[in-house]
Symmetry: D2
Subunit: 342 residues, 4 copies
Amino acid sequence: MYSFKNDYSEGVHPEILKALTESNLEQSEGYGEDSYTKKAIELLKEKIKRSDVDIHLFVGGTQTNLTALSAFLRPHEAAIAANTGHILVHETGAIEATGHKVISIDVSDGKLRPEDIKPALETHTDEHMVKPKLVYISNSTEIGTIYSKSELENLSKFCKENKLYLYLDGARLGSALCSEENDMDLSDLANLVDAFYIGGTKNGALMGEALVICKDSLKEDFRFHIKQKGGLLAKGRLLGIQFFQLFKNDLFFDMAKHANAMANLLKKGISEEGYKFLTHSPSNQIFPILPEKVIKELQDKYLFTIWEKVDENNSVIRLVTSWATKEDKVLAFIEDLKNAAV
Amino acid sequence: MYSFKNDYSEGVHPEILKALTESNLEQSEGYGEDSYTKKAIELLKEKIKRSDVDIHLFVGGTQTNLTALSAFLRPHEAAIAANTGHILVHETGAIEATGHKVISIDVSDGKLRPEDIKPALETHTDEHMVKPKLVYISNSTEIGTIYSKSELENLSKFCKENKLYLYLDGARLGSALCSEENDMDLSDLANLVDAFYIGGTKNGALMGEALVICKDSLKEDFRFHIKQKGGLLAKGRLLGIQFFQLFKNDLFFDMAKHANAMANLLKKGISEEGYKFLTHSPSNQIFPILPEKVIKELQDKYLFTIWEKVDENNSVIRLVTSWATKEDKVLAFIEDLKNAAV
Amino acid sequence: MYSFKNDYSEGVHPEILKALTESNLEQSEGYGEDSYTKKAIELLKEKIKRSDVDIHLFVGGTQTNLTALSAFLRPHEAAIAANTGHILVHETGAIEATGHKVISIDVSDGKLRPEDIKPALETHTDEHMVKPKLVYISNSTEIGTIYSKSELENLSKFCKENKLYLYLDGARLGSALCSEENDMDLSDLANLVDAFYIGGTKNGALMGEALVICKDSLKEDFRFHIKQKGGLLAKGRLLGIQFFQLFKNDLFFDMAKHANAMANLLKKGISEEGYKFLTHSPSNQIFPILPEKVIKELQDKYLFTIWEKVDENNSVIRLVTSWATKEDKVLAFIEDLKNAAV
Amino acid sequence: MYSFKNDYSEGVHPEILKALTESNLEQSEGYGEDSYTKKAIELLKEKIKRSDVDIHLFVGGTQTNLTALSAFLRPHEAAIAANTGHILVHETGAIEATGHKVISIDVSDGKLRPEDIKPALETHTDEHMVKPKLVYISNSTEIGTIYSKSELENLSKFCKENKLYLYLDGARLGSALCSEENDMDLSDLANLVDAFYIGGTKNGALMGEALVICKDSLKEDFRFHIKQKGGLLAKGRLLGIQFFQLFKNDLFFDMAKHANAMANLLKKGISEEGYKFLTHSPSNQIFPILPEKVIKELQDKYLFTIWEKVDENNSVIRLVTSWATKEDKVLAFIEDLKNAAV
């Protein structure tokens, strides 16, 4: 069985493992105050081209989101998210558990635009309702779509005008920024959002997300929140070493490019068989619509997620590629699809 | 500079690193549903001699504590801890952040006995006060002391009689169970407490704590709580592989024994110079009382924590040893102490 | 200006005020442990025909809801509510502030049926999502509709089968139970739901809601939760005296009947002018659709809420009647509507 | 039986009841936006001699405390309170339930001075511990003592220097400000603390506390927090009418003076019998130390609280007087004490 189920099925890129191994017996300070972490943060600031941002390394995405949002928001303030938003559906109410409502906005492509958010602002008008204060977006989104620079500029402008924080969940940011359709870099991001994180777990690290806080007023005392929410890793250097390796020679981007290339290859092959897709997803997640019978056959050899039923005979499946996805497995999948399709 | 500052200064035991490396490119299920994690849990159950316990692997101790306590307690229920308890002072109010008061009990040796807890039960009598419901203890404690089996039996009996859960924080459980003065094993623990965790981070793992839930009524839906609190590691196998290696050939105990031996060596050397200690600590943390002037000199070559002032001229320092502590460094420290003491 | 804006514009029914005045200088126990409260609770149990329920008196509805739901639910459990549900939109995220997600269900008439809830159960399948555990309904609903006995029976059966608690917000329960279309009584309610509250504030009391807990497992330690959430009134007898008066001679029902009669009169008059309504609301809230121009004129003499725009020229308004609504004012309103309509 | 158990045993001062009765059938806006509440707030600002403060009316003290503190503090910030502090022991963990630790300071007289607080600041030094941010004091304290102006000035200066908010719980502020030993007025208070509340419930109102927010940065969006925590009273005018009556002709102070006079009378009588007191309490709560046998006899005719055991034969009792305490009952109590004492 070969898995297209997610992008965290394998361990870590061998380069990173090598760095972890080489430094293994050195002594270092705990809780992210070691020299590896400091170096990684300096390197990230260079890549982002902003020396004034604050950067904190986390183990996982849900923890990053819940720590950031609960630190940024006052008790009566709420987040706004697309109906597919990870914090809305797939984090077991982690944000609500810190006391904050997440307002759901129905959209079809996983992305928020000013016109999607406006109605929520118009209906939340007084103290009998929560106060919308933070817009949560993902790039790439949970259904594989990505934001263009102009889309993000519009959203950023709208958020500033309405005193909303703009927060970007970058669990799959590598794939988004390396998409053929992308026209942004890390530096653009840092200028357009108030905080975002760069996902390592889903792009070749053992684990690790780098939260970048761009807005000054959101920076104060942030390490208290990490510790309080259980996110301060004792051997913090594990994160520092990994992020340094990820960005030292652009390994982060190389891995994301490979993942995207594999997704493109899959997409092309599936398309050529005449199948359609749930969304236009130029990143490492694709959502083909296949007949149940074909799906059944593919399941004999491959692991993937059944996303949702489309009609009685067809379902959407999700295929995810990663830095570790093997081209021969992709080609075999396409071949098996062709045969199944007969 | 050589560090006696803590037991998480180095990386991971080379045996474990080897296992992580060998499995690195295999694909596995995410979120702890992989075969490595399953194997590790089976192995742990054998070691504990209880097939009926539930075991969950966490990344760190604060997260384990906050997830467990918030899952076990209803909103009006409180934890009771010794005044040195980790949850009380060194977790940034993590338990309170989940809504629960921690009642502090003044004791001198970091350990709770029935007579220490009784007054708290007697003063919390009605609905105008929180309801004490869980007794939190650590073994070894935050100041290096350990529980004897009969002490734990007494406490366990008292808790049962008073319908209190007994929870044991085992961040340094390896050192406690391998102390020369210890008379318990994992199986005894599981029979005496309602839940406890076996600490990996401070005993040779990259990171990792294994929470063991012994009481049936505390088990239900526990994975929801892990996810909600941000503790469900995507590449969960990292924890599974490590715990399997830790317990496969008793590496966990061998490492703890080494840490204890190094602490004993330090203690003997310091004692022979005529210095006293803050507590009787038969584990891997010792707390000698040294003249400021001696401390200053030692600080030129060694890292350690200044614990507290004793009087104008003397302070307590904390020295921590680990699986990775080198005997020659310990001997050098004692030699330097001798010379400083002159 | 005469107000149809809500049902808490006036003070308290004179009978109740008389009882408060007569007992004013007596001494009594605090925090609801007085004899008036005990008598009121006994009387309520008789009216409900269940001696085994637990009853607690609260000052207001939001506090009742947040105390009950946070006491009933474990951290990972969520409530389900109709999109118009009071807890969902008009309590400033009070439920989320206690840590629980409220899942919104789109319905057109403010009522939940099994088929509305089923999809939420089907999509919340594992520990990456919250666990739906409590169904929140209102009777009458926030848009004036009411549940029939068979509707509630179906819902109750469905909830039992799916291990969901059924909770009924009775802020306007008086009006619902006295509606011409109602076929239930308090006793039916207590047999069909797990907990509900009988609203006094919106039916002639100064303030006060009586929470009835029917399900045994939800009763334990409930007063701790009231105190913790700030809801334990020092002079608790104020609530006891009022509820005793409300139910001693069925004043509660008489007042609700008057409110409904006034709403019916309004509805008839508005209907006869040819206007339509947003919903079929056989209770004390009605939602006529009127031309903007007519609304403007009425606003010179009357206070009411503009509910929502229907199209460019028409809006829904909300008219609320109460125990204190005067028939001559209702007739005047209809007359003014006729003239405005010309 | 006559009760000296608390100062909320009776209803409301007849003057206030009259005002409630006279306005009873008028219509008014809900949720504290009525003209009565506005007038009361204006009057309070005059009495405080500060037009720039924000004032919000609450139903009860626990709710005032929990709403204020949770609105003022960020998640990692903690309150500091004396070991007798109401929020620390008698509010069922209400502050912790909003996520904040309350740090307990051992003092003997219920009052905090800079030197009591300093050690807490010195031990809470980094992100592994909560950040002390708000000092909670009560005046009069829970054991009847009061602050002098110079004591409060010192504390205020210390808090400003250390960036701590100073919050004063005024559940019994009337009694404190009308004590023979008091040298402050409401205006002094408003200049020395960041927020405080004026207690109505324990000084002749049906219920009600007026929270005064003096510090600008604590004012924003405060009504959202009241609503979210369930404290926004629908018929808010009940509070407005009461506070207007309380302060229109200084009824508030007259009632407090009466309560204090009755406490003084009790104190003098008890003193003359040779009994000692737990504390020097120049307010409406006194804590005589009496032999068990005397206490038993008094319990036949009077209700009061047994505070704590002093030794085998003696206990402290608490006697509380109020605006409604009758002089003849006080004299009878003293007489009975004399006879019991024989």
